[in-house]
Amino acid sequence: MTFLQVNSSGNEVSLMLFFGTIGMLVLAIGMIIFIIFHQRKVIRYQLRFQKLEFQQQKTLLNASIRFQEEERQRIAADLHDDAGPLLATARLYLNENLVNLDKNAQLQSIYNAKQIIDDTIQLIRNISHSLMPPTLKNFGLESAVNDLFQKISGSGSLNASCRFHDYRERLIPDQELIIFRIIQELINNILKHSNSSFIHLTQNISGPKLYIRMHHDGRGLTQADFEKLNKSGGGLGLKNIQSRLKLLQGRIFFEKDASQTYYKITIEAPRSEEQTLKEEKVITY
């Protein structure tokens, strides 16, 4: 420790003591001030980040509320414009039956009323199916997606195909519904905007995650476009996808294929621990 001690004249010692003390204090105070300012900067950055995140959540919340309102309006319009007039017409036929005493005319009007009531039943069934597809509820995501793709292919406008590689264990119904809605939304977007000639969907699992990938050859989005549209005022459907994914705790990735010919959309969704364990047991046996 002798290096710490200075053996020199009194004046030199005093100078060293004075400047040494000043130097040490300046260093200590400088360090404290630096830490205070650095921390303030970090906290301000965190607050700004939280604010942005909050705004993003608010946008998503607004989008989901708007989407729900639109859905309600659509159902109301379907009931009012289609079911309402049909039932009114059926009532007219039945009224006519009361007034008209001619048996043939009565039979004809009853037949017409029956036809109209059948149409109404079909219409209400369609509305109900659009709210909750029965195939999804009874047979699961794989069957519901297959049905959807068959309908699209059946329309003849484009070729839609799907393949589920590993869907032995169904997801919980809530998850299936969310994923199905996301797929529906993506397909709607592809049909509306992409002008593609085919859509192909594949499913697979990897550990505790389920993956769904869609390919199409039309105009598509990249992740940057998706994020930009998500932050902007428009793109209600995309915001809806984002909020559903948030609920699902899943992720989505939009990209262009390496060959630059196709667009790919990958959805990652978590599987419950129970499903993962079951899967592992099957593999062990």
Binding site: M1, L4, Q5, V6, N7, S8, G10, V13, S14, M16, L17, G20, T21, M24, L25, L27, A28, I29, M31, I32, I35, I36, H38, Q39, R40, V42, I43, Q46, L47, Q50, K51, F54, Q57, K58, L60, L61, S64, I65, M132, D174, L177, I178, S243, R244, K246, L247
Partner: protein
Amino acid sequence: MLLQNIALVSHLLPLFLFFLFFRRNNERDIRVILFYCLYSFVNDIVITHLNTTEQYTLTFILLSAFTLIEYALFSYVLYINIKKAIFRKLILIISPFFIVFSIFQFLRSAGNGIDSISITVEYILLIIYCLFYFFDELIEPNATFIYATYKFWILVAILIYSTGTFFLFLQSSDLTPEEWNKWSIINHLCTIAKTAFFSVAVIMRKEPQENHFFDVDADHLFENHYKP
């Protein structure tokens, strides 16, 4: 002399404020600091008395004991406030070495003035421990501002006192009694600053108020929105 008296009495300020504010901050580290203040006050009075009666050996013993106890108390306060396990371990490893070194120095010096080497080493160690704490705060900043916690003011007091008096005690063996009297103004000023910072720590509340950015829990609002 006036400054010396102010510095001596200033030791009582944190204790006075502690009772004045109805002991609103009763944390362990605050209690340690209050004990330190009381001990410093009593020690300074006794040493002043011994100096006037020219009992230098006893003064030396008391000063050496003070160095050890001061180190133990400050390093304990720093130990409980440092979050990183590696730094805490370092304090635990270094401390026994310092105690042994201090005792060795005490026996070697055999009652000559101030044990400047022990004090210098003590202050180097305390400065390093303060750096550990600040490094901790730099890499893992809290949601609250650092100066809104009482711990920060305790650390500032220790750091300012250690850095401010470092050169004084380092050179103490080379100073004549006149020079020592002249330069001990640094010690008095640093003591006043230290007790002032301790007082700030004492009057601060246990838990500073958190910065609530959100008025509502947005996540909770969002949670069941889509539940069919």
